[in-house]
């Protein structure tokens, strides 16, 4: 057993007693009408009861979805990514440079290097997607996310709703926010308030996945 194995939430099991991992967004999402299902050891909000409406949000304004179950590994040592620009690897993971010798690997299926630190539960992750995703972010974050300044793959540390965080542009219409796990509930409230001004709202994993698939094909 690695001395750091206690950092990693379980991958999920069939036992009813198996520990089910929960995101800090879960409770407010359920209060907002979210419906959750276990997936790969995590309780995941799959929709909010009206997938058609969620598709419309993603297509016309903006939707925000919980991505906290995304694996997040802290890697140390020199890496190939230039500061400010994350690289997408072959397994679908984003290698995000924090310093010249420290990077976050977000997602992806490759096995973790031995000396990686599992920070999956260090950061809550929220995906903002849609034509108004930039505007939604602008309600609580001063990071310049204009496409000319922050193209796909751009990765910025900064203040997100006055708490330390990161912003990664994962697609032309999509931004991934990372904030400290313990501030997840606070961030949800901030984003929800901001969304009301823009007729945006929360979306579940199903609608988001569909939208991402359509966008990728396009």
């Amino acid at each position: 057993m690695s001395s750091l194995s206690f950092l990693t939430p379980p991958a999920g099991g069939s036992s009813s007693a198996a520990a089910l991992a929960r995101s800090p967004f879960e409770r407010p999402a359920l209060r907002a009408g979210g419906r959750a299902q276990p997936r790969d050891g995590w309780q995941v909000v799959v929709d909010y009861g009206d997938r058609e409406h969620e598709r419309e949000l993603l297509a016309q304004t903006a939707g925000f979805a919980d991505r906290s179950q995304l694996r997040k590994l802290e890697l140390h040592g020199e890496h190939r990514a230039a500061l400010g620009l994350a690289q997408l690897d072959g397994d679908g993971g984003w290698l995000c440079p924090v310093t010249p010798t420290r990077a976050l690997l977000l997602g992806g299926g490759a096995s973790a290097p031995d000396d990686a630190v599992d920070l999956t539960c260090g950061y809550a992750a929220l995906q903002l997607t849609g034509p108004s995703a930039n505007e939604l972010l602008a309600r609580f974050c001063a990071i310049d996310v204009r496409p000319t300044v922050m193209p796909v793959g751009a990765f910025r540390p900064g203040s997100v709703a006055r708490t330390p965080g990161y912003v990664l542009r994962t697609a032309e219409d999509s931004l991934l926010l990372l904030v400290g796990w313990a501030t997840g509930g606070y961030l949800w409230d901030v984003v929800m308030t901001a969304a009301t001004h823009l007729n945006a709202g929360p979306v579940g994993a199903v609608a988001l996945a569909e939208h991402e698939a359509v966008t990728a094909r396009a």
């Binding site: 057993m1 001395s3 750091l4 194995s5 206690f6 950092l7 990693t8 939430p9 379980p10 099991g13 036992s15 007693a17 198996a18 520990a19 089910l20 991992a21 929960r22 995101s23 800090p24 409770r27 995590w42 906290s68 179950q69 802290e74 140390h76 630190v117 920070l119 999956t120 539960c121 260090g122 950061y123 505007e135 602008a138 309600r139 609580f140 974050c141 001063a142 310049d144 204009r146 000319t148 300044v149 709703a161 006055r162 708490t163 400290g180 796990w181 313990a182 501030t183 997840g184 509930g185 606070y186 901030v190 308030t193 901001a194 001004h197």
Partner: protein, 959 residues
């Protein structure tokens, strides 16, 4: 009724009637009207009473610049009627007059109170007798101010929304220059935002016959991709950020460059009676007539120092206003003057207005040759003309506030008679009438040139490609220069009885400025503060230039030396709620927070965390820990991973403890000290393997400790990696005599005393969650601290409570924890210690290993402290009489002087007595000594105890 037939530029919709009330009386308006234009059309001429003298005031500027039409709308005071759109059912009320606008009892001040209310009167009167000041204050406060806020504000339907916007170029001002600049820069590739305070883009074009061009320029800007913000007032320039208030949105615009095309503000003339209702700026009269189709008067006299007044006279004449006479301060006639003459209107060159008369409204204007105003001038004929409208134009003052906030400077332009921008910061530019390029075509070209230059500076165009274009634009600007204005006299008052106002907002007259200068307030900044000129709602728009002229006359200083006051935000009126707004107050919550709430916890702030204070029974919860088991969420603890070949050496340098000898799987308590040997934090260090340590810190110290570690690591360049795990892991402490039994049911790990001893650390599954388990305790009973991924917080918590339910487990919060730790005399850094506390005087000498090989931070100080810990020592104490002293109460020395303080006190049900910790004189820091505590008016006497009150030998902890 004074409504004109349809006008080409009118913005009213005559098919849409809007009803509202003014002081309870119904008023009919058209959609598109402002409250001011609707009331004026309905015959209202008096809109408010002035600040100090409660004089009648009417519409003057019709552009939101002056204070004359401030009203209350639906309970919100300070609304400018001349720019506020009408809305159905609005309840509009006057300000600053009681009992009514037509009869204001406070107007007696104007009649007889003048001698008692000179400038600065409140520094001289209402001072004696001092005992009456509370009464004076009440009277003055009731008399002062503009408008009243309701005791309780109604729920707002809107909440401020903050929007951050980055851009290449921000253009402030949507007139011809601003629109042209924005469109030009955008076409060259810049990302441009344009903000204008009016409802419609176009500036002066809209009421000076240029509405077609305004629409064209606006469309060009839109098509070029400019983001156009209307009804958007730029409030101020804050280090490259310009705040723009629009509706209920505060835009925080960070642009690489700012371009100001804010135009110039028409100035009033200073003469006797210049504040009478019916005295109107030429722009105000034209706006009323052309935008709202309201005839401003039947019979008008015009007094002007520029072509603006002449053009206004022509425009009003075309709309049926009888122009009795035009007085042009300038000696030579212009094209506009000739057009007036051709229309049969008399124009007197070299003449100006010296007085306006009338009871509640202007009834006559008194004109005189300008020569007659010179000292020792021969008497000259005056002309007194009956009129119901006196249109004045004292030239313009460039609206320089925003660029000067950005760092621009101004100098006095004697030719133009106003203060103009001189030097601009590198990222700021200006265009249009703001820089004296105000003719219609000239302003547009000025804007184009500014846009070209801005785009070039931003790197969107090659300067050499654009140089030819810039040159031709410059030439066009020079060729298009208009007629100059004349400089009005500081005060054209004719010496007869009556007030000549320099400042309409604060009721400051020309005489007031004379008196202020006589009293020694002879600079514009001093005069401002003494008389309050420029400090009112207009913020100097209507009065700064005239005030400067008056000060120049009084002091003999040239205007260039008088200068202007410092421009400060906000430039436009903004509700406090827009600036306060919805606070973003980050709150950290443990992953178990939801369960705490469900269990009825009282949640409080602890630093930036929300923590359970107790679950309704703090003393009972503490007792449960002694009698069965308790479970507390300690997820807020700071958690740092320290890894690498030099990890042990790194920690040895940071802590006075010896860390490198800690074996893998063991835990040690650590006290962190600074360079001066003072305690800054404490926590535990667990060695996970040869090169990996897991360090905990206090909850509130986590950030500071991480910074401290990072700082020293950068300096020492040791081969160490730091990772902050504070939020990645939940942590709970299971404590009490039943703790082992409970834990055994949720883990396969051998938790027997033999296999898992005190200060051991083990990794294993707890309720199917990977966890780091440490046998440590802060509460004096057998205890285990479990750290596991935050995502499993609720799962593990529930598993432990469930497993412990048959054993009588209870959750416990911060307050019972404080009782329990106090029983053990465990310190809370920052409560029981301060910046003078070291491990020696805080009774922890065992934490310092002066003999360790590695030098460590604070060693030199601790070597001294070892033999001379300080004048006071931290001890425990008990109190027999049952009353817990206030934390912070003084501990007295033998002479009765404060010599220490109580840091913590609680009543312990377990021990059935009051216990505490305090800093006491060193001579008293031994068991059994009596200490005297001064608590308010009381004296309490405690007994020193240097050992823990509960389980002093630690047997329970080690069981």
């Amino acid at each position: 009724m004074t409504r004109l037939p349809g006008q080409p530029a009118e913005r009213i919709d005559r098919d849409a009637v809007v009803q509202f009330t003014f002081d309870g009386k119904p008023v009919s308006a058209f959609a598109g009207d402002t409250i001011g234009s609707a009331l004026y059309a309905a015959g209202q001429r008096v809109f408010s009473r002035s600040f100090k003298y409660h004089r009648r005031r009417g519409l003057m500027c019709c552009s939101g610049s002056c204070p004359n039409c401030l009203v209350t709308v639906d309970g919100a005071p300070g609304v400018r009627a001349c720019t506020e759109p009408v809305s159905e059912g609005a309840k509009v009320e006057h300000l600053n007059a009681r009992p009514s606008l037509s009869f204001d009892a406070m107007a007696v001040i104007d009649k007889v109170g003048g001698p008692f209310t000179p400038p600065g009167f409140y520094y001289k009167t209402f001072i004696r007798p001092r005992s009456l000041w509370p009464l004076y204050e009440k009277v003055l406060r009731n008399a002062a101010g503009l408008g009243r806020l309701p005791e309780r504000q109604a729920e707002r339907s809107w909440k401020t929304e903050y929007r951050r916007r980055h851009a290449d170029l921000l253009v402030v001002g949507g007139g011809a220059a601003g629109l042209a600049a924005a469109a030009t820069a955008a076409r060259l590739g810049a990302d441009v935002v344009l903000a204008d305070e009016a409802a419609e883009l176009g500036g002066r074009l809209l009421w000076e016959g240029g509405q077609g061009l305004a629409a064209e320029l606006a469309a060009e800007a839109h098509d070029a991709g400019v983001e156009l913000l209307v009804n958007a007032s730029a409030l101020g320039h804050y280090d490259g950020l310009v705040a723009v208030w629009q509706g209920s949105t505060l835009h925080q615009i960070r642009a690489r460059r700012q371009l100001y095309a804010t135009g110039a503000i028409e100035q009033p003339l200073v003469f006797r009676g210049n504040d009478l209702p019916g005295v109107m700026l030429s722009g105000g009269a034209r706006r009323l007539a052309e935008l709202y189709s309201v005839k401003p008067g039947e019979r008008a006299v015009v007094a002007t120092s520029s072509d603006r007044g002449l053009e206004a006279a022509l425009a009003l004449h075309a709309r049926g206003v009888e122009i009795v006479l035009v007085a042009d301060l300038r000696e030579s006639g212009s094209d506009a003057a000739q057009a007036l003459t051709a229309a049969g209107i008399e124009v007197l060159s070299g003449w100006t207005v010296v007085g306006a008369t009338g009871a509640s409204h202007v009834e006559a204007a008194v004109l005189s040759p300008i020569e007659s105003l010179k000292p020792d001038a021969a008497p000259e004929p005056r002309v007194e003309l009956e009129c119901d409208l006196l249109v004045v134009s004292g030239g313009c003052s460039p609206a320089t506030s925003l660029p000067t906030q950005a760092g621009a400077t101004t100098t006095y332009d004697a030719e133009r008679g106003h203060f103009a921008l001189s030097e601009l910061p590198a990222t700021v530019s200006a265009a249009g009438e703001l820089i004296g390029e105000g003719g219609r075509r000239q302003a547009q070209v000025s804007g184009e040139l500014a846009g070209v230059l801005a785009a070039s500076a931003l790197g969107f165009a090659d300067e050499s490609d654009l140089s030819g274009r810039a040159e031709s634009l410059r030439a066009e600007i020079e060729n298009g220069a208009g007629n100059l204005e004349a400089v009005p006299p500081p005060d054209a008052g004719d010496g007869r009885r009556g007030r000549s106002f320099a400042c309409f907002c604060e009721d400051v007259t020309a005489k007031d400025i004379h008196l202020a200068v006589q009293e020694g307030y002879d600079s514009i900044e001093l005069c401002k503060r003494f008389t309050t000129v420029t400090m009112g709602p207009c913020q100097g728009r209507m009065c700064q230039l005239n005030a400067a002229r008056l000060i120049s006359r009084e002091t003999g200083q040239p205007l260039a030396a008088v200068g202007t006051t410092t421009a400060r935000p906000p430039w436009a009126t903004v509700p406090l709620g827009a600036l306060a707004g919805a606070p973003l107050e980050p709150a950290k919550r443990s992953a178990i927070h939801g369960r705490h709430r469900e269990l009825g916890a009282q949640i409080r702030w602890a630093g930036d965390w929300r923590r359970p204070y107790d679950y309704g029974d703090p003393e009972g919860e503490a007792l449960a820990v002694h009698q069965a088991a308790g479970l507390i969420d300690v997820s807020t603890l700071g958690k740092l991973l320290v890894r690498g070949p030099d990890a042990a050496a790194f920690l040895d340098r940071l802590y006075p403890n010896r860390i490198s000898t800690l074996a893998p799987g063991r835990v040690r308590y650590g006290v962190l000290t600074n360079d001066a040997g003072r305690i800054t934090d404490d926590g535990t260090l667990t060695r996970l393997d040869e090169q990996t340590f897991y360090v905990t810190t206090t909850s509130s110290g986590a950030g500071a400790v991480e910074q401290w570690f990072s700082w020293w690591l950068a300096d020492w360049r040791l081969d160490v990696i730091l990772t902050d795990l504070t939020q990645a892991l939940c942590a709970v402490n299971l404590a009490g005599p039943r703790a082992r039994e409970i834990l055994a049911t949720v883990t396969d790990l051998d938790v027997s005393a033999a296999a898992f001893g005190y200060l051991d650390a083990r990794q294993g599954d707890v309720a199917h969650a990977s966890a780091l388990m440490m046998r440590i305790g802060f509460v004096g009973e057998l205890g285990y601290e479990l750290h596991f991924p935050a995502a499993l917080g609720e799962h593990v918590w529930e598993a432990l409570l469930s497993a412990g339910s048959e054993h009588g487990i209870r959750p416990f919060g911060l307050e019972p924890q404080r009782i329990l730790r106090l029983q053990k005399q465990h310190i809370i850094v920052g409560q029981d210690t301060d910046s003078e506390s070291n491990p020696y005087n805080a009774a922890m000498p065992w934490a310092v290993k002066l003999d360790k090989d590695e030098d460590f931070i604070g060693k030199w100080a601790l070597e001294r402290a070892a033999s001379d810990p300080g004048a006071t020592m931290l001890v425990g104490f008990t109190l027999p009489d049952g009353r817990a002293p206030t934390e912070g109460a003084a501990v007295l020395d033998d002479a009765g002087h404060p010599a220490g303080q109580v840091t913590s006190t609680r009543r312990s049900r377990q021990l059935n007595q009051v216990i505490g910790m305090a800093w006491v004189p060193a001579a008293l820091a031994t068991d059994g000594q009596t200490i005297t505590i001064s608590d308010g008016d009381s004296r309490l006497y405690g007994t020193v105890a240097t050992q823990p009150f509960h389980d002093p030998a630690g047997e329970l902890l080690r069981s």
